[in-house]
């Protein structure tokens, strides 16, 4: 036990700093420059998960952070290891995931000499981290680690990288020894994130909310980061406001709730997309007007006033200028809105939304998410996901890769709890799901964790099933195997005249069952819809080993609805079985009636 003032070497101080920052789990991979720091890991209570590729360490840390709200921790060496974590750092930056990444670096005198396994890690990662730093003195290590955790977890969360040269953690170096301390105060004069919104912005927001006739709560990942699901439920119910949850916010509001419209955006459902288009007020809550949500920005929610709530001042006005800008933490903002609303008359003081709600439920009835349920001889991915959701525990955590399977999982899984959906939204990183599932399971060992994956994705990071087996992290993988890079194939079908260029993976290589078994997993193959329930039930029974199910799904199934990239959300394409009905409605002008009436009114 090292006490303050006791002599300590840099390596021990690094691990001791992680302990002081309450780290329980870290994901990593040793190597030359970080070697000294791996020695004290043997004596530490922190659980180290040895991944098979550094990229997986990063995504596992992200999965852990998403599932628990605690920062994910990565430890890797210099050079190629640092470049291998570039992808997860960028992923964490775009999805605001709290993460601390420690990279080894060549010894200080070797920096700048093109030494073995040297790269300019802080230079390379500058634009994809919230902050990074190169530590140059052993005695700065505790401060650097304390600051890293503070910056990563406060304000808008994000990844922070600490680059540690080998000589300052080498016990053989007399300069690597110093008197241990753990900082109680940080010196960050330029970093004081503002959590509490101004009272005037809250009052202005509540005024717009009270008078809106067709409001929509456009909820993004910021609500989850702020632990704001409860406040959201209260705000939505008190103001009788329908809610859309973006890809990063699935689960922030229960899908089973009558006010829930589901996911908007490029592959959102018709009602969620169209509600935004016809709203007179959008309450953007921790969302950032991403292009996958807005489509053509100029045509996005053309009749809506905007209340934008976000902790990051730079998000306000970045894409769409808000009418009321509420800078602060989403949970605090929503709680204050509720207080303010109570002061001005409570739910009674909010305009009546009965007509709006009934318009929306009319659309929900007419244009629900759908697929060809009668198709015979083909295993539909949507069916697999519906059954998987039905047969798995209510609080199952679902991770996904990127592509068609990701969209289907978001669409067809009913998310009723926050922190049950973990995916790569901003960066769109293929191969995310398996390592993210490892991290989620490490953080929530009592929960069932299903990685929904595609065959292309699984070939990128499938080797991490070895980590799952060896480290005893019993995750489950539902491989939606259509033998294609399905989303790319879909775009080539729709926009490149069915000219399929470099998207076919073939059914037979690898043999996913054999491959998974060789990595220590229990593996199944399902080709017949009738086998689905039985195999899922078996998979859910297995809790001591990882499981992989190779679902051989329909090869050319498409994701609908779809807003073509750069197109207006008004031109959303729905399932082929609904499209002619929608075309007829559009021709009759039936769907735009509300908005036109509203704009006429405002002209008067």
């Amino acid at each position: 036990m090292t006490t303050p003032g006791q002599r300590i070497d840099g390596a021990s101080a690094l691990i001791k700093s992680l302990e002081a920052a309450d780290v329980e789990v870290m994901f990593g991979y040793p190597g030359g420059a970080i070697l000294p720091a791996y020695d004290p890991i043997l004596d530490s209570g922190i659980r180290h998960v040895l991944v098979r590729h550094e990229q997986a360490a990063g995504h596992a840390a992200e999965g852990y952070a998403h599932a628990t709200g605690k920062p994910g921790v990565v430890v890797v060496t210099s050079g190629p290891a640092a470049t291998n974590v570039v992808t997860p750092l960028a992923d964490a930056m775009l999805d605001s995931v709290p993460m601390v990444c420690i990279t080894g670096q060549v010894a200080l005198p070797a920096i700048g000499t093109d030494a073995f396994q040297e790269c300019d890690t802080t230079g390379i990662t500058r634009s994809i981290t919230k902050h990074n730093t190169l530590v140059t003195r052993a005695e700065d290590i505790p401060m650097a680690i304390a600051e890293a955790f503070h910056i990563a977890t406060t304000g808008r969360p994000g990844p922070v990288l600490v680059d540690v040269p080998k000589d300052i953690v080498s016990p053989a170096n007399p300069d690597a020894w110093f008197d241990w301390y753990w900082p109680t105060e940080l010196n960050l004069p330029g970093y004081q994130p503002d959590m509490t919104p101004s009272a005037s912005s809250i009052a202005d927001a509540v005024e717009l909310i009270r008078s809106a006739e067709r409001p929509v709560l456009y909820v993004g990942g910021g609500v989850l980061k702020a632990r704001g699901a409860e406040a959201l439920l209260a705000l939505a119910e008190r103001t009788n406001t329908p809610v859309v949850t973006t890809l990063m916010a699935r689960g922030a509001f229960p899908d089973s709730h009558e006010l829930c419209l589901g996911m908007p955006g490029m592959h959102g459902n018709y009602t969620a997309i169209t509600a935004i288009q016809q709203a007179d007020l959008l309450i953007a809550m921790g969302s950032r007007f991403d292009d996958r949500v807005t489509g053509k920005v100029g045509a996005f929610a053309p009749g809506a006033k905007i209340v934008h709530v976000d902790i990051d001042p730079a998000e306000h006005g970045k894409v769409r200028r808000p009418d009321v800008s509420v800078v602060g933490d989403c949970r605090i903002a929503m709680e204050q809105m509720l207080t303010r609303l109570a002061e001005v008359g409570g739910a009674e003081a909010v305009a009546d939304h009965t007509a709006w709600r009934s318009t929306l439920s009319g659309w929900q009835e007419k244009y629900p998410l759908t697929y060809d349920r009668e198709a015979t001889g083909e295993l539909k991915p949507q069916y697999v996901l519906e059954r998987l959701a039905e047969l798995s525990p209510d609080d199952t955590i679902v991770t996904s890769g990127v592509g068609q399977h990701q969209m289907w999982a978001s669409q067809y899984w009913q998310f009723d709890h926050p922190y049950t959906w973990i995916n790569s939204g901003g960066l769109g990183t293929m191969g995310f799901s398996v390592p993210a599932a490892l991290g989620a399971k490490m953080g929530m060992p009592d929960r069932t964790v299903w990685a929904v994956d595609g065959d292309g994705n699984f070939q990128m990071t499938g080797q991490e099933m070895i980590t799952a087996t060896v480290e005893n992290i019993p995750i489950k993988v539902a491989l939606l195997n259509n033998s294609y890079l399905g989303m790319v194939r879909q775009w080539q079908e729709l926009f490149y005249d069915r000219r399929y260029s470099e998207v076919s993976f073939g059914r037979d290589f690898p043999d996913y069952v054999k491959w998974s078994e060789s990595m220590g997993a229990v593996a199944f193959r399902v080709e017949d819809p009738d086998e689905v329930d039985d195999v899922i039930a078996q998979a859910n029974e297995i809790n001591d080993r990882p499981v992989v199910v190779d679902f051989r799904i329909a090869e050319e199934e498409n994701v609908y609805p779809m807003v073509p990239a750069g197109g207006s959300n008004d031109d959303v394409i729905v399932d082929p079985s609904q499209q002619s009905m929608l075309d007829a409605d559009r021709a009759a002008g039936a769907l735009g009636a509300d908005r036109r009436a509203a704009s006429k009114e405002s002209q008067r």
Binding site: S127, G190, P193, D194, D312, A314, G317
Partner: protein, 180 residues
Amino acid sequence: MNRPGTMSSHTIAVLVENKAGVLARVADLFARRGYNIVSLNVAPTTDPTMSRFTIVVDAESAPIEQIVKQLFKLINVVEIAQLGPPDVVERELILATVEAPQESRSQVLELVDIFKGRILAVSTGKLTVSMEGTPDKVNDFEALLSDYGIVEVQRSGVMALPKVGRPVPRLRAGSAEPTV
């Protein structure tokens, strides 16, 4: 290219922690967000732990408000002051080597004298001169020199301070609203 002092540029003074790599962080932010820098100046302040940038930005490349907010996301940025023309004193230094053969040399010397510039080096047929003034003055001086043929020119970029007694809006870390 915009010259400092023209209508479409903004001048901001950015107080940063004087730490390794801070210049790279600022430059990198401008590069990756597509903001154009017209000129950039940096030096330590009286507090050796702090440095101040004076940056003239091309306001047509992005709204100044967004540039300021993005700068503030850098952990080392402590304070940003937006310096509008009526509230600040601005100065810029220009060094120029100009063609000055026998027949036009006296005219160049006269021009330098009118602008209260100085002669720094003399050779057969060429003069190196300096002049310090507001960015507008420097623009005029450079334009007039160019009639004689500029061989090489180096401008310092704008440095600026708020006028004494003129409060300028300063945005500090930790407050969403500007304080004066």
